[in-house]
């Protein structure tokens, strides 16, 4: 933070974006705010993290995709060298994969460029204050995807599997079709289906995916 002309302390913002027009827009947007100003900018990932390290701004607004080095890589370097600098990812990409990638690299927030209105300003403030900010349209999916894993583990099985049912379970979990399981066990595909339904009922599994998860969490896929 720095003082400016006897006013309040302003947030020091660094801009990293390979699009000049975007950078210009961002700069005027940021500088239009009374509590922040742009202290530096870069058009590439490499230049961005090095300059940011030197300038030690409060927040680096980092584009996710830049030609020389991706935003995630630049963020990783920056956070390794200057951990105190906070990074706010800014992107046109809405895939949650990118969000996760940036957050994993050490970014504290993620804002979509098309939402770059009051949100960006709000995000800069939040991140600078030590919080994290993810675009609300992305946040919901992100959370659910984190919680979506391993749903099969918690449920208690309601019955012991027979030898055949176990075999069928393993082979299905290995990704074999009913017909292929039938070939391997010398039974008809229809019979395989019967075993499958029965074992699903016994183990309280709702889908093929559940079967795979169950087999995985019970170490049934280690052989072969």
């Amino acid at each position: 933070m720095s003082k400016q002309g006897g006013g309040a302390i302003k947030l020091r913002v660094f801009l990293a974006d390979d699009h000049m027009v975007v950078r210009e827009g961002l700069k005027s947007l940021v500088n239009a705010q009374p509590d922040m100003h742009v202290v530096g900018e870069a058009a590439g990932g490499e230049a961005a993290w090095r300059a940011a390290c030197r300038l030690s701004p409060d927040v680096v607004v980092m584009d996710v995709s830049m030609p020389d080095m991706s935003g995630a890589e630049a963020t990783e370097c920056l956070k390794r060298e200057c951990p105190q600098v906070r990074v706010l990812a800014l992107t046109v990409y809405e895939d949650k994969g990118y969000v996760r990638q940036m957050l994993d690299a050490g970014a504290s927030g993620y804002v979509l460029k098309r939402a770059v209105t009051d949100e960006l300003v709000r995000a800069i403030r939040t991140v600078a204050a030590g919080g994290s900010y993810v675009d609300p349209t992305l946040a919901a999916g992100l959370v659910s995807s984190f919680f979506n894993q391993n749903t099969a583990e918690g449920r208690a099985p309601s019955g012991e599997l027979s030898e055949r049912e176990s075999q069928v379970l393993r082979l299905i979990a290995w990704g074999y079709s009913n017909k292929e399981v039938g070939w391997k066990l010398n039974i008809s595909a229809k019979t395989v289906d019967t075993y499958k339904l029965r074992l699903m009922e016994k183990l309280n599994l709702r889908s093929r995916t559940d079967i795979v998860r169950y087999a995985l969490s019970h170490g049934l896929l280690q052989e072969e």
């Binding site: 975007v22 991706s70 093929r208």
Partner: protein, 534 residues
Amino acid sequence: MTHQAVEGGAAGGQGNAAGRFAYAALDALPDHVTVVDARGSILAVNRAWREFAGANSPGPAGLCEGANYFDACAGATGEGAEDAARFAAGLRAVIEGESEEFALEYPCHSPAERRWFIARAKRFDFEGEARAVVTHANITARRLAEEEFKESEGKYRMLLEQASDGIHTYDARGDFIETNSKLCEMLGYTREELLRLNVADLVPPEDLAAAPIRFDRLQAGETVLTERRLRRKDGTLLPVEISGSMVSGGVLQSIVRDISERWRADAALHEAYGELERRVEERTAELARANETLRAENAERLRAEEARRELLGRLVTAQEEERRRISRELHDRMGQQLAALLMGLKTLGADSYGRRSALDTLRQLERMTDELSREAHTLAWGLRPPALDDLGLETALYNYVEEWAERARVPVDFHSAGFGGGRLPLTHETAVYRIAQEALTNVAKHSGADRVSFILERRGDHVLAVVEDNGGGFDVEAAMSAAGRGRRLGLLGMRERAALLGGAINVESSPGAGTTLFVRIPFDAGGGDERGAA
């Protein structure tokens, strides 16, 4: 000879010791002996004569001293008359000195047995008088033996002559001894000609050199079976089978069978076999040619198929390339510029100092820009999500599945595993992504499912995706055979995509039982991170 006989005999000297000795000796002889004078008067008989005469009154031996031998002969009747006359003539010739001696064999059968005798006459002079000694000896045993022999020889000869095989005998040197006429007939020689030959003369020299006549084995008592050619008198050759053996006393015998018929049959068979062989060869060659043609056609088809695949592969690559380019363009150029535009509008808004009409216009422009920005994103994402290139299959698919679930209002249970290591080849990631897209599109379009399972796993050497819905299902075979149906085309497209990379699509479904689609695409496990195009 009895004393009476001696007393009654013309010979003197009965008191003579030498004479007695002579009579005793004569009596000891088994042959019937009598002595006659020149006129045929019987001067003396020995004991055997007398005894025999007693038993055979009708025969010439019924005579005793004092009787005339010639008279007796002349008086003979019946079967013996002729013999008697002949002997009488012989005896007379002997007595008259025309011949030294005379012998005649004659039958003299009694009712009980068959008998033969030999009558001999021999002249001698006694004190100036011509005398003859006549003996009759029983030769029945010999004659019977001879007869038997003749009979058996006759039989043998008959057999020999009637035999359908040539039969001949020869000595240890191979010189012919005997032959039957069959052999003569077979070889075109007369019997006389044959008997002058040696067996070796009948065998062509080259054959003889290759297979000599095994006299050694024949003489060792073996029966030797040989198949060879014999040369006829006219020079032609006759195939025969010869069974040689030793009969007795060093005499060898061969039975020669004409096997020209068999040879002809063999030759015919051989020829037929050769013909068959030739035809089989011909047919084989034909088949080989057909096979070759087929192989060539097949290779041609394979080449065409390969070319088609390659073309398709390039098409897919080019299409993906194009989509990627446009997607990037939309994101990186249009998206960024729209973002910049939006920011400009914001700034303008902040600078407008509350002029109402201007502010309204600005808000409207901002909304339009935002709308455009979203559309650009959706468009780009639909074409080819940058995540597929930037973040990999797992993330891109997860995003897609999530977006699909939201849009189709069908929850998807997504599970993925095995993607912690390097990336798959981009071709594989793209293929799986596109197939999964198609599969989910099908689910939304056709299944009516309310739950979907999505499994994505990277295994040692292949990537596996399983999409299962609990919808209506369908008859896979019927769907594949029905022409022009959307689902079929979709399936074909997926198959084609997978096949380009050596992978396979497997669909299990039946009406009312949901549908499960399996995608397996192998990759080179060693080069997991190689980045192909598309």
